[in-house]
């Protein structure tokens, strides 16, 4: 070899140094891959990530008070809410002017509704005041303190002004406090009134029922997965159809089937009455309560437990069990000490999957759950579609989202997102 080959760079066919030409090829390859992914990435970003972000934003956003009553908010800044004294005439005048403008623009009901979530009665108070305020003359009409108190005596109470001041900031933690049964007051966060405390209970119920559903899925799924993994392939494929058919059947079909089965005049009750196990007058109540939700959701989520368990059990050689037995282990010891530990990854994967799906379920609890068997997701839907308390709905959804993401992180650590399999 000549000495020059140690110093001169190796050249590619076109004369450029090989290193440079290789890195250019690599860059080109990367760019091409990204170009292929880009359309979808942009689509997902616009159509999915942005909605989620807008929801997160919604859960802290609170500019309705500041936008509708700007002068009042300014004037209230100098008022000390904790003294127990009423604010001065300037605040009343500012409010009168604000509500007059709002009434003309017909947006006073919105702000009234917003504040009504915090203190009931404000919506009607705002409506009444706005009706009167439309006729007031801002230049000569004063003093507004007496006038407002004259419209409704509640304007002479400090609580109303405290509520207004607390919720006048553009961003608020109020919805999150509401989501855990607390509320924002002048004296800091406090517990919600007894009769309004429902959300923590719902969170707790969602958690407990999801655990029960996961548990019953493990209990029912384990034997089936074992059977599938230990019979000849041809039989296993046939049996797998019995698992996959429910998996592929429309969710609404399965839910309506359970409604048909579990009703008081339904198939199971009729059968039990026919067999004389249950008296006609004492038919079992299996729907519109927690039993209904658990039975139907276990059925719906069972395939999600069986399939990961099956794919793990398939990889366990049957010779291990035989070896354990030939070394003197009893059936139970061989199973518990040799077979079971190897199936734990499958159980873990299935459980997390079922649990995540269960805590976000909406349709099935809504139809078979009645009032006792509903989840937090039903409350989210109620806030968004019925009570129109969008901020609270967004805050509840955010909490649920965080919980699910943490669980998925655990799932990713355990199984890997890439290993998600669909229907065998």
């Amino acid at each position: 070899m000549s000495a020059s080959s140690y110093t001169a760079p190796i050249l590619a066919a076109d004369g450029t140094p090989l290193k440079k030409s290789l890195s250019r090829a690599l860059r080109q390859q990367k760019r091409r891959a990204l170009m292929l992914i880009a359309p979808l990435l942009i689509f997902i970003f616009v159509a999915f990530i942005m909605p989620i972000v807008s929801m997160l934003f919604r859960s802290v956003e609170n500019d309705i008070v500041a936008n509708t009553l700007p002068q009042t908010v300014m004037a209230l800044q100098s008022w000390d809410a904790e003294t127990g004294e009423l604010p001065g005439e300037d605040v009343y005048a500012a409010f009168a002017s604000d509500i007059k403008i709002a009434a003309k623009a017909k947006i006073h009901t919105k702000v009234g509704l917003r504040l009504n979530y915090e203190q009931s009665g404000i919506a009607s108070l705002f409506k009444k005041t706005a009706r009167k305020a439309k006729k007031w003359d801002m230049e000569t009409g004063g003093p507004f303190k007496e006038k407002l108190i004259g419209v409704h005596k509640n304007w002479g109470k400090t609580e109303i002004w405290q509520t207004l001041k607390i919720h006048s900031s553009r961003y608020t933690t109020g919805y999150f406090l509401n989501a855990i049964d607390m509320r924002k007051t002048a004296m800091g966060p406090q517990r919600q009134a007894e009769d309004k405390q429902i959300l923590l209970l719902l969170f707790q119920r969602t958690l407990i029922m999801s655990l029960v559903i996961t548990g019953s899925c493990i209990l029912l799924g384990y034997p089936v997965a074992w059977l599938l993994a230990n019979v000849p392939v041809r039989q296993a494929n046939l049996l797998l159809i019995l698992v996959l058919l429910p998996f592929w059947t429309s969710l609404l079909v399965r839910t309506s089937a359970w409604k048909v089965m579990l009703q008081q005049q339904g198939v199971i009750n009729d059968l039990l009455v026919q067999l004389g196990m249950v008296a006609d007058g004492a038919r079992l109540v299996m729907i519109n309560n927690q039993t209904g939700t658990i039975v139907a959701m276990t059925h719906i989520l069972l395939p999600f437990m069986i399939l990961p368990m099956y794919s793990v059990m398939q990889t366990i050689p049957p010779t291990y069990l035989r070896a354990a037995k030939s070394l003197g282990a009893t059936d139970w010891t061989a199973f518990w000490r040799v077979y079971f530990p190897q199936t734990v990854p499958g159980i873990g994967a299935g459980s997390i999957l079922v649990f995540i799906l269960a805590i976000g379920y909406y349709i099935t609890p809504e139809i078979v759950g009645g009032t006792k068997g509903v989840f937090i997701s039903n409350r989210i839907a109620y806030s968004i579609l019925k009570s129109l308390n969008w901020g609270l709905g967004a805050a509840l959804a955010t909490i649920l989202l965080v919980a699910v993401l943490i669980l998925y992180w655990a799932y990713d650590k355990m199984v890997g997102i890439d290993n998600v399999k669909l229907g065998g």
Partner: protein, 403 residues
């Protein structure tokens, strides 16, 4: 590997004991229905042992004995409970004859390892019975809706006429209602319109991205993958809440600023939402198919002068087509079956079949739902069969399994 176990006849006492238990159980069930439980229990046990004695000790000809049992039980059923009882009797008679000889000839041992103890054999079969019960739980709800959808009355349960197989108990009126009712027809059309369009969008974008993702040097691969799969991870209710806020403002913008027809904007919103939900399924199935794809094929094509587009359509596409189609089917069924997001994003004029079923189940409950459910079950069976065929074809193309 079938174990070669020598089977031999079992002692009669064992057979009689087992048959007594079986008979007592069956007798108890019938006795309870007639309110004479203890009598049923005893009669069942005695009858069962008696019949076993006759067929095993007196007749000693399996074929004749089993036909005899079948005839005996079906006549019994026919005279006590009518046509339905007769059918049940045939089934029971067949099972009875099979079971008694299965025990007596020791056939239950035939496929088991010879060294198993009796307790292990008992556990083996009890385990199978337990699994059978779980499979029953899985499949019964789906089976039950089918006959109920032919109910001639507006009940959600089996009427006595149906149980007697009286033709008057059955009718097609719920199917007729589905075909004639405007609400159902409109929602069916909406479903058939929204799902395919959403599927096409997710398949086109998803396949492209999956091909990009499967190349060897992709920066931030894990992050991109996580983002693309996120619509499947996030619970539907949360996606729906987010989309509710965002799509409403987008929709308002399109309607008010650009003056686009309100109805059209509604469909656009729903289709976009549904195609987002379908994308993770396409990505997952297509990347899985591409794992087995031999990249030297594209290089060979390029070597012979094909440009990337020709290579894609002539070489790569035919090979990954099964994966693309099954991903598309997943996306289709996701959209076709979806209720939550569409309830939040869409308006009444975009009502789809599942949404109509949902309102039907919550409010004015009508058995037409069962007719629709039956149609959907048949539909999902067809879909499942298609997927299975595609999977086999894909494995064959990729050479993963012997042909």
């Amino acid at each position: 590997m079938a174990a070669l176990t020598v089977i031999s006849r079992k002692p009669l006492s064992f057979v009689f004991c087992s048959m007594a238990i079986l008979g007592a159980f069956a007798g108890l069930l019938i006795g309870m229905a007639l309110n004479v439980a203890p009598l049923g229990l005893i009669c069942g046990a005695v009858l069962s042992v008696g019949l076993s004695f006759v067929v095993l000790s007196v007749m000693d000809n399996e074929k004749i004995a089993r036909w005899g049992l079948l005839a005996f039980w079906s006549v019994c059923g026919l005279f006590s409970f009518g046509l339905a009882g007769g059918l049940a009797g045939i089934l029971w008679g067949w099972f009875f004859g099979w079971f008694v000889f299965w025990l007596f000839e020791g056939r239950y041992r035939a496929r088991l390892q010879p060294y198993l103890s009796p307790k292990q054999v008992l556990w083996h079969f009890s385990f199978r019975v337990i699994c059978g019960a779980i499979f029953t739980y899985l499949i019964t709800p789906i089976i039950v809706v089918m006959p109920l959808s032919f109910n001639s009355q507006d009940f959600f349960t089996f009427t006595p006429e149906m149980l007697q197989f009286d033709p008057a108990g059955y009718s097609l009126k719920h199917y007729k209602d589905f075909l004639n009712n405007n609400e159902w027809q409109r929602s069916f059309k909406n479903s058939l319109m929204i799902a395919p369009i959403a599927t096409i969008i997710s398949v086109c974008l998803g396949t492209l991205a999956a091909i990009g993702l499967s190349q060897s040097h992709v920066p931030f691969k894990r992050l991109i993958m996580a983002l693309l799969i996120s619509p499947m991870i996030v619970p539907l209710i949360i996606s729906a809440t987010g989309m509710f806020f965002f799509y409403a403002s987008v929709g308002n913008f399109l309607e008010n600023s650009l003056g686009i027809d309100k109805n059209f904007v509604g469909y656009v919103k729903v289709v976009l939402a549904h195609s987002v939900l379908g994308i993770p399924f396409v990505i997952i199935t297509v990347t899985a198919t591409l794992v087995g794809f031999d990249n030297s094929l594209t290089r060979a094509a390029a070597n012979m002068g094909a440009d990337p587009i020709t290579t894609f359509f002539k070489v790569q596409m035919p090979l990954i087509l099964p994966g693309v189609i099954s991903g598309g089917l997943f996306a289709f069924i996701t959209s076709f079956d979806e209720v939550v997001v569409i309830m939040f994003v869409g308006s009444a004029s975009q009502k789809t079949l599942p949404w109509q079923m949902f309102t039907g189940l919550r409010e004015q409950i009508s058995p037409t739902i069962l007719a629709v459910a039956t149609i959907l079950v048949v539909f999902s069976i067809v879909l499942l069969a298609t997927l299975e065929l595609l999977r086999r074809r894909s494995e064959k193309l990729r050479g993963l399994s012997p042909i």
